[in-house]
Symmetry: C2
Subunit: 203 residues, 2 copies
């Protein structure tokens, strides 16, 4: 900028668009819906169905899942404990950027460890982080086994498979508990939507 | 989901909200404005000013800059060549997620190396990546030296400082060239906005 514009530059810089400005334009709040649960518990299906409903209601949304994160932002990470932790941390940081952008961002990752989820919760302001436990039983998930992963895990072909050879630590006090093993998809969506209305994320 | 819902799950999953759906709701396209230039060339000021103008026009925007990225998503990275490259790669990947979310995302990083910027360009679809060269001369930037960084770099207190002890590789064919060393801020904003209209990002 030319020198005589210096003071106006400063004004511009402080006059940047705030999260509140964006939320006001959008007509809803930014938030992260952190779906957690076993493989096959319906995280991806439910998060996309909730997104579809929110979009229908005019909300600004985005889903972070294995499809758009694992080969991109986290493409350099393997599957060691350290790498899995870093994977969740980065997703947590990106979800925070989306929340600041005024978006309802939905994340669909197993995220089996309480400590990792607590780290992500800690990144966010209170009320911005909404943990959604997709609580289908291991038996139900293994019984469906849509991708055949449980079978392969039982045969030892997949190491450290959550629920089989690596623990899943259930949320102790999630904002939203959805019994995805029993409820229909529509009813599951309704459970999440009700919470968002009650919490004032959407009106 | 219960078993009888399986087929409807599949429908839901394929019926996810697309980028086109979001752009249609927003009334503009998603894109990344990649501001590049020397320290002090006005990247941050200009990107926030462009964002303010876009917000005024009803567009959905977000600025990625050192303030929200360096201590968060890239908080584990130092300043080695490898770390700087990884820093730019991650910002590129995150900008891609925002573009898919239908947002006009603006990034304000020196990003001095052509190869790194080419990598980011390669992540994006053609026309989504808009390189904005903030082309103030080294003399102009050093003369202003708002943060006193050039002085410290000249004294050897800061190593590998772009323009002093590390090269800045100017874009050879940027989508937008802004002579931020000469133009006023308002005129600089207008240069960027004109391009966005011409390119059909906003109408």
């Amino acid at each position: 900028m030319s020198l005589e514009q210096k003071s106006s530059n400063v004004v511009w810089h402080h006059g940047q668009v705030s999260r509140e400005n964006r939320e006001s334009m959008n007509g809803h709040k930014g938030a992260v819906l952190w779906f957690t649960g076993l493989s096959g518990s319906g995280k991806s299906t439910l998060s996309h169905a909730v997104e579809a409903k929110l979009h229908e209601l005019g909300a600004h949304t985005y889903v972070l899942d294995g499809d758009n994160v694992r080969h991109g932002l986290c493409g350099d990470l393997g599957f060691s404990d350290v790498a899995r932790r870093e994977n969740i941390r980065r997703i947590g940081e990106v979800s925070k950027l989306f929340v600041e952008a005024g978006v309802v961002v939905l994340t669909a990752f197993i995220s089996p460890f309480r400590e990792d989820r607590a780290v992500v919760r800690g990144l966010h302001q209170e009320h911005d982080f909404i943990e959604v436990h997709c609580a289908a039983s291991l038996a139900a998930c293994e019984n469906r086994d849509v991708k055949g992963l449980y079978k392969r895990a039982r045969q030892g072909e997949i190491k450290d498979f959550t629920g089989i050879s690596s623990p899943y630590e259930s949320p102790e006090d999630p904002e939203v508990y959805v019994n995805t093993g029993e409820l229909s998809l529509d009813d599951s969506v309704e459970v999440v939507l009700s919470y968002l209305k009650k919490a004032g994320v959407i009106s």
